[in-house]
């Protein structure tokens, strides 16, 4: 019951932030110096009549706040406006592109968590031993290398040189195998993984490295805790201490970091999708920026920020659920 109330409370708290984001993106989009319509029409033959018509269509002739209220009214009903360049509704476009991005980000996270936590724990346990040094260097390289460059290097090695893995595009597991001419679900699955592998590593490395460092620090700290001393004094085997007593406490900050890092992961998705030619939200965002398709830009910014906010809320709730010390309702 407390948890339910806390959940509601956290979502309610997010509403002003989301409104803030909509204002911010709206203002940014309207900061454009010069005539927005002309900018939008770059490279398109247009006469005065057409420009006026577009202005009227987008309500550009009305005052800013009125247009914002209109935009908000639309947002509430799920209408994010219209893409000028693609002549489709923004909501529709986003819906068609959100799948690959989610697949990419989630698999990158899965990769990061599955590698960083065991490595971080072992490094903490073997502090200042060779394993620790090597893993720290790996983590340092991980946090210092741009994800897109890792992507480029992976393509050069595994796609161009070795030819083992494809360098572009994704196979969507939610489409039927026939779409790709795959022979049954096994091949479909294998192909999905093969396509996902490189972009997943490219996007996940930074997350892995960050989480590994946090995990290591937290485990070292936890292993120095009085409760670990107590467990040792009562003859608890070292393995149990590591896996249970120290681990459970060390995980709490990790949960928070996972949520906050969604910010870099979603930003990184734009770069990864660009490098690997994946038709997700990031690629759509890039195209929209190049074309100055600003209803689309606003829509995607809104969606990505919302995804981040929701991600943080989910990890907050998970934290509250796992940490018995959090008293719901008055967190933060």
């Amino acid at each position: 019951m407390g948890l339910l109330r806390y959940t509601t409370y956290r979502f309610a708290q997010a509403i002003p932030v989301l409104i803030g984001i909509s204002i911010l993106t709206f203002v940014l989009a309207n900061l454009t110096p010069g005539d927005p319509v002309r900018l939008m029409l770059q490279g398109v033959e247009a006469d005065q009549e057409m420009i006026e018509q577009i202005e009227a269509q987008y309500g550009l002739d009305r005052p800013l706040y009125e247009r914002y209220l209109d935009y908000m009214a639309g947002l509430v009903q799920g209408d994010m406006g219209h893409s000028f360049h693609r002549n489709r509704s923004v909501s529709e476009l986003i819906a068609s592109r959100i799948g690959p991005t989610l697949l990419l980000v989630l698999s990158a996270y899965a990769f990061a968590l599955a590698t960083s936590i065991p490595l971080g724990i072992i490094a903490a346990k073997r502090r200042n031993e060779p394993f620790d040094h090597v893993s720290r260097i790996v983590a340092l390289i991980g946090v210092s290398t741009p994800s897109f460059w890792i992507g480029i290097m992976l393509i050069l090695i595994f796609a161009v040189q070795l030819g083992w893995l494809p360098s572009a595009g994704l196979v969507y597991p939610w489409w039927s195998p026939e779409t790709y001419g795959h022979d049954g679900y096994v091949e479909h699955f294998v192909e999905t993984i093969r396509h996902l592998l490189l972009p997943m590593i490219a996007l996940g490395t930074l997350q892995m490295a960050t989480l590994m460092r946090v995990e290591r620090t937290q485990m070292i700290e936890s292993l120095q805790g009085e409760y670990v001393k107590l467990a040792r004094a009562y003859g608890v085997p070292e393995r149990t201490i590591l896996r249970k007593h120290a681990f459970q406490v060390a995980q709490l900050p990790i949960i928070t970091i996972v949520g906050l890092n969604l910010s870099t992961a979603l930003g990184g998705a734009v770069l990864t999708e660009f490098v690997f030619n994946i038709n997700g939200l990031g690629r759509l965002f890039y195209d929209a920026i190049v074309q100055l398709d600003y209803q689309v830009i606003m829509g995607i910014t809104m969606i990505i920020a919302t995804m981040f906010v929701i991600g943080v809320i989910i990890t907050d709730i998970a934290y509250a659920y796992i940490d018995p010390r959090v008293t719901y309702g008055e967190a933060e």
Binding site: K229, L230, A233, Y234, G235, Q248
Partner: protein, 403 residues
């Protein structure tokens, strides 16, 4: 009291190897614990009490290490060294292995109650769960049995509604309640010896009283022996049978409780007693100990207490006294002290001139010159000083360009 002690500690030495030098946290202490008694280990913070008690379980943390001495528990060797064929000291064959320590000694035989009840319980597990885990592990009980036992134990240590509190988390317990849980943990494993490491320091006075009463009752009921580590002689008076007073890694006085209080033999103990409030004295009579305890990394020469000692004489700076029997008590228990003013140390204390009081804690250059003037005069040669195993004072006169 039976002749064979439950625990015998002989010349135990534990050192920490830090960047700035070797810290001799425990420097050759010896004491015994007999069945059913409560032995106090008293001293200021930094005296090495906690390190000593963790050494008994071989749980000294890096960069610390037990480097010498012998710890025997019920005839089994917890720690012991012998000279190997190459002349190097090595661990004795009969010393318990790490696994044996873990499976047979820690918890089952010797349990610990830690200082800080707020930090000692794991915040993410239920109180009952933690209690049950240790019982299961140390008494080979099934999960259900261990749970029952845990609930009983919670009741035993005076936690109301133990069934409900079993499911609660540490943060839902007050400090005193948590300390009760820690006591329950120690008792529930049915050990023969419990090391209580400043168990009441973090609690307020009324709770402290309750906890001490509780331990007293339970000790009587279960007959468990205790090593009670504390800096508070008041607590010692209430609960202990015999007391060891520690100063800078050494035991400076060792006596049955009444002897210690009414026939104090060491100036440090005197000073400790003067610094605690007692019902028979007014606050105005309180007399705090001068100065602070030096660090164990560079202990003063001679008697380690001499820079702060009101009775210090010149000889105290040269002669390092090991504690020795200075009196026999009515109960035939020896009263040991490490102070050269007693006749048992024949090093010329009475003839030695008193020391000028220095403002600084450790001896500084001007101490040297002073020693140079007065040193060689009266008193026997420094070499005859007994028990100067570490012998910092053995060069006597002013010539030593110390450190």
């Amino acid at each position: 009291m039976s002749s064979e002690p439950l625990l015998r500690v002989e010349n135990l030495k534990t050192q920490f190897f830090t960047d700035t030098g070797t810290v001799r946290a425990v420097d050759g202490i010896s004491f015994e614990v007999y069945e059913g008694e409560i032995v106090g280990l008293v001293g200021e913070s930094g005296a090495g009490k906690s390190v000593a008690s963790m050494s008994l379980l071989r749980l000294v943390e890096n960069p610390g290490e037990i480097v010498g001495g012998e710890v025997t528990y019920k005839g089994e060797t917890i720690f012991g060294l012998e000279e190997g064929p190459d002349g190097e000291l090595r661990k004795r064959d009969d010393m318990l292995s790490n696994e044996e320590m873990r499976d047979r000694i820690r918890g089952n035989e010797i349990a610990v109650i830690f200082q800080d009840p707020m930090e000692s319980l794991n915040p993410v597990f239920t109180v009952g769960g933690q209690l049950r885990e240790f019982i299961e592990l140390n008494r080979d009980l099934s999960r259900e049995k261990a749970r029952e036992e845990a609930v009983d134990m919670l009741r035993e240590v005076g936690i109301p509604d133990p069934e409900e509190r079993y499911e609660e988390y540490p943060h839902q317990f007050s400090g005193g309640m948590r300390q009760r849980v820690l006591i329950a943990m120690a008792l529930a494993c049915e050990p023969n010896l419990i090391i209580a490491d400043e168990p009441t320091t973090a609690l307020d006075v009324t709770v402290e009283g309750q906890i001490i009463d509780l331990v007293d009752d339970l000790q009587e009921k279960y007959g468990t022996s205790f090593i009670w580590v504390t800096h508070d002689l008041g607590v010692v008076a209430e609960i202990c049978d015999r007391v060891n007073v520690m100063y800078l890694g050494e035991i400076v006085e060792q006596a049955p409780i009444d002897e210690l209080f009414y026939d104090t033999k060491h100036p440090y103990t005197d000073a400790l007693l003067d610094s605690i409030p007692r019902p028979d004295r007014t606050v105005g009579e309180l007399d705090p100990i001068e100065g602070v305890m030096p660090e164990a990394i560079s202990p003063p020469s001679g008697c380690r207490f001499h820079p702060r000692c009101p009775d210090a004489r010149e000889v105290c700076r040269r002669v390092h006294p090991e504690n020795r029997v200075v009196d026999t008590t009515e109960s035939a228990e020896p009263h040991r002290a490490a102070c050269v003013k007693h006749d048992a140390f024949d090093v010329g204390y009475d003839e030695s001139p008193p020391l000028e009081k220095e403002p600084q804690v450790t001896s500084e250059p001007d101490a040297d010159t002073e020693a140079g003037v007065t040193g060689p005069g009266p008193g026997p040669g420094p070499g005859t000083g007994t028990g100067t195993g570490t012998g910092p004072g053995s060069s006597g006169g002013g010539g030593e360009g110390s450190e």
